[in-house]
Structure formats: structure tokens, C-alpha cells
Symmetry: none
Subunit: 410 residues, 2 copies
């Protein structure tokens, strides 16, 4: 079974937006045992999109289309599908209209007349409901191919794919299992060397690495004739990875650094507070992105200015003058002040130079101190992170959370 | 003049790597006045790549190909070009071989035998030297089209494009200008309706909308015979957009909500502090993502737990008990306490229910109060945001910054 992925949008064709939907869909299709033959991107134009659909349908069994289902005049993918189907008319689907109207009502807003078009579909197509937005998808036969049209907004596309498209695919009978193990603390090439002999791309098992936000993730794809074989092989490989990678392993699957640290806190019934300078709230934002984080996270201070370090955390002004805000003693004082003021079991502090500017020969851009104050005392770690402002801030927040994880034995 | 962009690689077709080259090339071509008709991605297979080249050459005047010029067995783009040219032989180009050998020598390494293939080109093609890597590009006529092949490594691709491809393009004399205007406060369909008559897709001007993080952006592409005409039309359209959209307009181009609010603060020499509950630091993180934000941002409190609201911001415990943490009086007290404690000109507070869970009939998921305390007093706004936890938090932070922007007359 094979597929072609067609993404639609002027913002894509002109290079204003990088297409991430196609890579996501391709990855999912490979996991499901379907071979992507090509990705194609075209602009918001009825004839061009219809031609693209017809050409793709002539070459592949499944065509996945994303984008162009919005309510404005430049959203023309539904009309293009009608054309590719041989000139179907657009007809109103009353249940979809009601769902869209309800979507607005629940949010205390009235549906704009323009949104009515999102409840119209080519006659002969099937509606693919969208529970997370106002753009339902649709599917129809074009030639001998199944064409699935999904919204372009990534989280809506993913929802419609998982709930409406995937169950409709006539997938090959092989069992496919995927598993992902997240690590932190070493680069991709180091992790690659530690598991080099496992990283073969065989017919039955694929092991590869990807990097995101400083986490190096090892992805397994296991294909097998039976579910039992696949599960046995998955367990064997995951155990082997954990043995080799040791405490570099942060978690698996949907785990994030913050969710893993949060789980450890929750289990021990302990609490956490944060004191952030150069990360400016990013650490707290990562921690509170986890639903249920109010169970263990108390809050903290964004002590960006020195005055805030004194007022909110009680850092001694003399300490700030003598060592500067980016220093080991100030990091320790921030963490300890924060832990004390909020009566938390643990406190993390971050102070550093994210750049551009603000650096000196002694304190270059990328210099960050992270401090962890806990029941057994305070430790400070000096880091020198590469990259730009965004990268330095992200690495600092991740490294600080990782130190908490390791201190808690995670 | 038009073009098709063809990217080659198994890592792209299977979704392991997101293709950023195509967006970059498309953006450059639009700037140069060349219209991209499509992007296509195919895997490392001689026949598939050759077919892709031939199909693209039949539709577009220029075909830009990236990837598959490396030294390993799965790099097959040079063979594919030879096939698309009608079966040309690969011949060695001695100057290219010398350049590659020299590339290794300068780095104190010896050229591997495998790299010799990188100095071989289809007979009848022209070498495009690559000063920053070992994979030279090449160009040849296929049918009536010019096909340019560049390496897939982004910085090598960019170098070869700028130094070898661009000078060889017979560029049209038309001038192309692009402009983007960011709005906040109304949905895409509302904005679309306000400018519906401008959103025609003519030969000379394209007006479209895109959404990101709650900002609806209006994108203009203006094509004209002369630079003067294009500039006049751009100014006319931007003025018309600004007239119709009024204070929905946040900024243009690279502006973000936080950079615009920051610019207003910086201009007036005023300072800002923040008090965050459900956003947990996200607002501070957005503000401090802007380089130079220490000029106006003092910091603040992440008052996630009620105790933190009392300790860090001095919110009255009776107020919390009577109205609950998610309420108008508590939002106001958070903003005022924060403004007072940090001696800031302005303070923003956010308290809400990001979900999932923590809601009640009276206080549903998505209910957020934003408060702005400033020189003229405090205002509180009640919001009901749609979407999941991530969206609600993002919308809340953006809405709060927008209220500051409007209060400062931005």
C-alpha cells in the first residue's frame, strides 16, 4: 500500500511557512506500514489543487491532503475536491453546520456567516468530523484512489487523522509497534555510538534517533507477523536500550522532562518552586504545561531585574554587587530564598546570559548557573550552552529540570 | 517565469526530517519574481527522481533540485539527472576532483575513495562549484527547462544557490514586494470579512490571511513592472488595511506581540511586571524572548498556589476564600500587588482555568481573568477561551499583552 501527501497553501508554496504536516503524516504512514511515494505542495488555486489531487490519485492508492478548509475566500480545497471528483456540487451538511454553530456557542460567540462554507461538502463525499476546530475533513474516491482531506492547522490535522482517517485505511495485516525512549545529557552522536549496533534499518526493525529541545530520542519501529512476536521484540529492545543508556533515560512515549520530574514529586508528595532570571518564566511554563502540576508546583519568582531578586527572593544586595547576578553564590541564594519563602521541598534557580549582548570576557553568552536547593542542601552547576538566545534559554530550563530528576533518583 | 522545487531524500519522504530547503528556496524565488508552482519530495531512487525531474521540467521553466549528491550508495540524484537528460553518461570532471581532494587536505584528512563520485557529472551538464562542501551542484537542460541540482545540506544548498544558481537565472524584470500585517483580537473569518474585497488573487496582487498563536496575519504579495509601481501599490494597500483594521493591527513583518508591547514600554521609559497563575511563566517567557527586554521588564511572580499569591503578591487570604483564585477581585489584587511590590509602572496578572479538570459549572475550562494595573488604575477583563490547555494558556498570555498594548496606545 502506498500514498502521496499533498499540502495546500499559498503560505507554503511561497516559503513563508515551513510544511511540518507532511513529515508528520509521512512518519505516521510509515509506522502504519504504508509507503509514501511523494509529498507535493501547491498554492490555493482550485485548478492547481484539483490537478494535484487527480495526478496523485493516478499514482497512489491513498492521497492525504492538508490545508485550504478555512472559512475565507482563499480556502478552496473543498471546491478543488469537487472538481477532481468530476464536477460534484457542494451541498450543505446540516449536522456539520450545527456542530460548527455549537462550537461557537460553547465559546460564547456567534458563528460568522463565512463559517457556513465549512459545512459544505462535494456531493458523494463523506464528512470527517473535527472535534477540535471548525473545519471538518472529507473523503471521496477519485479514480481508484481514496482521497482524504484534512485541515491544515497541525493539531486539527492530527486529530482528524487519528480519529477519522486512520480507522478508514485498509491497512496491511502486519503488526507494527512503535516505541520511543527519551534521553537527556549527551549529544546525538554520543547516543548513536552507544547503540550503533542496534541502529540497523532491517525489514523487521528500525532504530533511529531524533533530537528535540536537547532531548535525544531513540525511536523503534517493529514490524512483525504476529502481535506477540512484535511485543517480545519491543520489550527486548527497550530493555537493552535502558541497560546501555542508564540514567540518561528520561522517559518514554509522551513523557516530557517536566512530566517526569512532576511524576517523581507527586509520588513522594513533595513540592517545587522556581526562581528564574534569564529564562524569564520558561521553566515555570514548561512545568505548568503538564496538566495536574498544581499538585506539586507552588510557583516562584521571575527575578529578571536585580531589584526583583532582592524583593521577591531576599537575595542580599551585597552578594549581587560582589559577584554579579550571573554567579554561583547568587544562583544558590536565589534557590535557597525561593525554597524558604514558598516553604517548598525543592527549589530550582536559573541565572545566566542568554545574549545577544550583556556578556563580558569573563562571562560569555551561554554562561548559565543552575541551582537546586533541596532537603539535603544546595548544589550549583555551571553550564556553557551553545546556540542563540532561544536555545540557551531552552537548554537551561531543561538542564535544571534534569538535575532535579537525577537528584530525586528518576 | 515559474519554477518547481524538487527535494530528494529517504529521510524526507519518510518524515524523519522536515524539509526546510524548499521553503527557503521558494521564499528566495518569490523575492526574485519567480512564481513557485509546486514543491515535490521524492525518495532516493533513480527512476523516481528522474521521473520527478522530467515531470517538473514539462510544467515549469526552472526546476530546482536539492539532495542526493553525497558520496554514499543511496545518493543517486546525479544518475537521475543523467537519465532525465535522455541517458547521458557520467564523466569525471578533474578540476572538481582536485577541489574535493583539496577540501579534505585543508582539514588534515585524506579523501575517501567514495568521494570520487562527487566529481562525476552527466555529459552535457555544467558543474556548479561548491566552496563550502564536497558536493558540487550541476545544471542541464531537460526539455525546454533549466534544471539546477544543489546539495541537500542547507548551508551548502544556500551557498550554491546564491553564488551559482541565482546568477544563471534569466530573471523577469517584474519587481515583487511582500508585506505582512499582524492583527489580534478577531478570528480569521472576521478579519477576512473586513477585507474580503481586497482578497482577490489577481496577476499583480495577492492578499491572504494566516493564523499563528491567535494572531491573524494578512500577507500581501505585489508584483509590478517597476519598483516604483510596486512600492506605491504596497503603501496604498498597507494604508487601506490599517484604516479598515484599526487597532486590531499589532505590527508588521518580524514584530511579535511581546516585541510591540516592549517597544511601547521602551519608548515611554516605563517598566512592566507580571503575576501569573494559570500561564505559569509563559507570559514572562514571551516577554523575555525579546532581546533587550531587561530594559523594561522587571520580572514578577508565578503564583501558582494560593500561598504563593499571598506570599509573593500580598493577595488577601479572605479575598481568595470569598471569590476563589479565578475571579475578578483576585486578578485585580494580583496585578496591584505585583505593581506595588516591584515598583513597576505597569503590571499584568493572569488567573484562569486551563484544564483539563479544575472546572465547575460556574467556572468552566477556558475561563480566564486578565488584569492590567497601570498609572491610571486597574482594569480586569473576563475571557472564555476555546481549545486545550496549551491553547488557553497561549491565548491568555497573548490577550493580556494585547491589553497592555492597547492601554499604551499601540
Amino acid at each position: 500500500m502506498n500514498c502521496i501527501i499533498l499540502s495546500v497553501g499559498d503560505e507554503l508554496i511561497t516559503g513563508k511557512t515551513v510544511d511540518t504536516n507532511s513529515a508528520w503524516l509521512a512518519g505516521r504512514m510509515v509506522e502504519l506500514g504504508v509507503e509514501p511515494l511523494a509529498h507535493e505542495t501547491v498554492g490555493d488555486d482550485i485548478d492547481t489543487v484539483a490537478d494535484g489531487m487527480a495526478r496523485a490519485a493516478a499514482r497512489a492508492e491513498v492521497v492525504l491532503v492538508t490545508g485550504g478548509l478555512g472559512p475565507t475566500a482563499d480556502d478552496l480545497t473543498r471546491q478543488a475536491l469537487a472538481k477532481a471528483m468530476g464536477g460534484a456540487e457542494l451541498v450543505l451538511d446540516p449536522p456539520s453546520l450545527e456542530t460548527i454553530a455549537e462550537f461557537f456557542r460553547r465559546r460564547g460567540r456567534e458563528m460568522a456567516p463565512a463559517n457556513r462554507i465549512q459545512a459544505m461538502f462535494p456531493a458523494g463525499s463523506t464528512v470527517l468530523p473535527n472535534a477540535v476546530g471548525t473545519a471538518p475533513g472529507m473523503t471521496a474516491r477519485v479514480g481508484t484512489s481514496d482521497v482524504f482531506v484534512m485541515p491544515g492547522v497541525p493539531h486539527e490535522m492530527k486529530w482528524v487523522f487519528e480519529h477519522e482517517v486512520r480507522p478508514r485505511l485498509s491497512l496491511p495485516r502486519r503488526t507494527i509497534r512503535t516505541h520511543i525512549v527519551h534521553t537527556f545529557g549527551r549529544g546525538e552522536s554520543d547516543v548513536g555510538q552507544m547503540i550503533a549496533d542496534l541502529m540497523t534499518r532491517g525489514q523487521s526493525t528500525t532504530v533511529g534517533t531524533t533530537v528535540c529541545s536537547g532531548m535525544v530520542s531513540v525511536r523503534l519501529i517493529i514490524r512483525s507477523e504476529t502481535a506477540e512476536q512484535a511485543q517480545t521484540e519491543e520489550q527486548r529492545l527497550v530493555a537493552e536500550l535502558r541497560r546501555r543508556l542508564g540514567d540518561l533515560v528520561v522517559g518514554e512515549g509522551e513523557d516530557t522532562m517536566a512530566s517526569v520530574a512532576g511524576r517523581l514529586l507527586h509520588r513522594k508528595g513533595q513540592t517545587l518552586a522556581t526562581a528564574e532570571s534569564c529564562t524569564g518564566g520558561l521553566l515555570g511554563s514548561l512545568i505548568t504545561a503538564v496538566a495536574g502540576s498544581s499538585e506539586y508546583y507552588l510557583g516562584g519568582a521571575v527575578s529578571y531585574a536585580n531589584a526583583a531578586k532582592q524583593t521577591l527572593l531576599g537575595v542580599d544586595s551585597e552578594l549581587l554587587e560582589r559577584h554579579g547576578a550571573v554567579s554561583e553564590p547568587v544562583a544558590a541564594a536565589m534557590a535557597e530564598g525561593c525554597r524558604h519563602r514558598l516553604a517548598a521541598d525543592w527549589a530550582i534557580a536559573i541565572t545566566g546570559i542568554a545574549g545577544p549582548g550583556g556578556d563580558s570576557e569573563e562571562k560569555p553568552v551561554g554562561l548559565v548557573y543552575t541551582a537546586l536547593a533541596g532537603p539535603a542542601g544546595t548544589t550549583v552547576t555551571r553550564h556553557l550552552f551553545p546556540g542563540n538566545r532561544e536555545h540557551i534559554r531552552e537548554r537551561a530550563a531543561m538542564a535544571a529540570l534534569n538535575e532535579l530528576r537525577l537528584a530525586m533518583g528518576g
